[in-house]
């Protein structure tokens, strides 16, 4: 106990005494630990961003998509099949489930003319499953379907057509035709990319259905269910079997996962990014470690006398070894902490946040990265301290004291 405390104290005082030397040798270590930590963290950010982007199209993991079609060419009865899906999925009591029609069209009265725009029919769970971001306003709530003026969410391009009026101030779309009526605009989705000019209306499936008698046979309906990733492998096939049962042979049902996690290539690419950048940071760390070994070895030559004095006052070989080893370990651990602080600063830097703009769930500072960095620092310290420590122990006390 006193031995370890004493050795630690000695190492610390030694470091304080050689501040400049230690500082110089540790810059490399701190920078590389910072790089290593930042790389792991950035790769986590990147993964998160890629995941969020693909969630927009494919849904979050695990999203199961159900689609159907008739093989005999006759028109599909979507109402009947919707009822069938609702009946089957009731048994599973899914929390997030949505219907999706993404090729309907509606005619709307714009300030200049009546124009036809694309319309998506969804359930309130859709934006949750797809993380669809909003520029303004809010998404649907369950009670929205019963409103007399049903709510809609429009794209930014369509909002521009009306001159971007404030939401909640009575801004409503006037639809013509089958689904005609006044629709309150409650939200605006941002442009997906620069120059995104798609004008679209997203409305609740039920609002639309309450106004339109019959869904046209050529506007296919899909169903999406978001379920825990751990259960999808068990539930997926069961759900498919249940849906197919009690249907006539001419209806073909497809049940498949659409989220990114079901496709391994994306995970591979982020692993590759992490591996390459991590390897570079590792090399930098190794170089820093070599520099440290070098400096410690040169310094050791000057310290032989001091070690001789310590030995003559009762320091055992083991104690000398531990002190010299700890000197490097304590130093690199401090450098590691500085490096991690550096990485945190980088991750909080405005330019990084701009780089990952639009990310909804910023991952917390990855502990995995911090731990990796610290372990790497301590390991390189132990490695760098080992040779000088061995040299210190091997030195002859009598020669060291001779003058």
């Amino acid at each position: 106990m006193t031995g370890l405390v004493g050795a630690l104290g000695e190492a610390w005082s030694e470091l304080r005494h050689h501040k400049l030397r230690v500082l110089l040798s540790l810059i490399g270590i701190a920078v590389s630990v910072g790089a290593l930590t930042a790389v792991v963290a950035l790769s986590e950010y990147q993964q998160q961003q890629m995941a969020e982007q693909s969630d927009v199209s494919g849904g979050r993991p695990a999203t199961v998509s159900i689609s159907a079609g008739r093989t005999d060419g006759s028109p599909m009865d979507w109402q009947a099949f919707d009822a069938h899906v609702a009946q089957v999925s009731e048994r599973y009591s899914f929390t997030y489930q949505t219907r999706l029609v993404n090729n309907a069209t509606v005619d709307i009265q714009t300030p200049e003319q009546v124009r036809s725009v694309g319309a998506w029919l969804v359930d309130p769970a859709y934006p949750i499953i797809h993380r669809t971001p909003l520029l303004e306003g809010r998404w649907f709530q369950d009670a929205d379907a019963e409103l007399l003026a049903p709510p809609v969410v429009i794209t930014e391009a369509l909002w521009d057509v009306y001159g971007r009026p404030a939401l909640g101030g009575g801004f409503a779309l006037q639809l013509q035709g089958d689904a005609g009526g006044s629709y309150t605009v409650i939200g605006v989705t941002p442009k997906q990319y620069d120059g995104d000019n798609e004008k679209r209306v997203v409305m609740l499936f039920d609002s639309y259905r309450s106004r339109v008698e019959q869904l046209s046979a050529d506007t296919p309906v899909m169903w999406e269910v978001w379920m825990p990733e751990a259960e999808v492998a068990d539930i997926g096939p069961l759900l498919a079997a249940d849906l197919r049962a009690s249907l006539d042979k001419s209806v073909d049902v497809t049940v498949s996962r659409t989220d990114w996690a079901s496709r391994p290539e994306m995970q591979n690419s982020s692993a590759m990014f992490e591996m390459i950048t991590g390897a570079i940071a590792g090399l930098v760390l190794l170089l820093g470690g070599l520099g440290l070994v070098n400096i410690q070895l040169v310094a050791m030559r000057q310290r032989i006398r001091e070690i001789g004095v310590r030995r003559s006052f009762g320091a055992t070989g083991g104690r000398i070894f531990t002190s010299v080893l700890l000197e490097s370990v304590v130093a690199t651990a401090v450098a590691g902490v500085i490096g991690i602080a550096l990485a945190v600063a980088i991750l909080r830097a405005p330019f990084v946040l701009t780089m990952f703009q639009g990310m909804q769930d910023i991952p917390p500072f990855p502990m995995r990265a911090a731990v990796t960095g610290l372990i790497a620092a301590v390991a390189i310290g132990a490695l760098a301290g080992f040779i000088p420590a061995l040299m210190a122990v091997r030195s002859n006390v009598i020669d060291a004291l001779r003058f």
Binding site: T2, G3, G6, R310, S312, F313, G314, T316, G317, L401
Partner: protein, 284 residues
Amino acid sequence: MELVSLVRLEGVAKHVILPDDSRLDILRDIELAIAAGDHVAIVGRSGSGKSTLLNLMGMLDRPSEGAVWFRGEPVRKMRRGKLDKLRGRNVGFVFQQFNLLAGRTALENVEMPLGYASGRSFWNRRRTATAMLERVGLGHRIDSTPEQLSGGEQQRVAIARALVRRPALILADEPTGALDVETGGSVMALLDEIASEADAALVTITHDLHVAARARRHYRLEAGVLTPFDLSAPAAGAAAAAAYDRIAPELAESVGGPLSDEQPQAEASTSEDELAADAVEVAS
């Protein structure tokens, strides 16, 4: 009455093999026993093997032949770790070049040996070291580094360091060698005083007769052979006279002037304590 001596060297010899395969004898057939509280001076020329003898007594080195006993235990049979601990606990070194840790404060230097202790002496090391520095009159310089201290002050720090663990044996290798005569005298007086306060045995190696005169027993080391001689006895003994002849030029060197003819008689006729005072006076 046969007491167990603190350190005993029995037929100790030390030799090294030179690169050309010839054998160099450093020490030959040394017989020496140091009792607790003893005060011994070993006088000899440079290269006579004084430091090697001190290293053997301090258990830093092992003899080629013969045996070293510490408190009745044979040093040869001890494991290294145990030996290091034994040395730290019982032996305090004072070096000619002080050998303070550069850049570390006086307090840190004096604390250092206590860092290798355990239990209460480890945890109270700061307080003990401060008290020890106050004892050597450096209570106001505890935060000074060796670079900021004079030679005499540095040696006082070294003495505080050697005594901070209350060792039973203090080994001083030319403790005044790097100091002027006056400072050397006061440093030796301090070392004597503290050693007798702590009831520690003090072995001083020196080529300075003034320093040697402070000891109770005297040995002469010449070409690796250790012979006792009586500094305070009448100068009738041929051996003592021979010793004086050999040592006189060195003494002259250390005092910085020729030795007066009367001095041997004067020293011979006075008691040991008076002699010590004389020595300082002559030096000044």
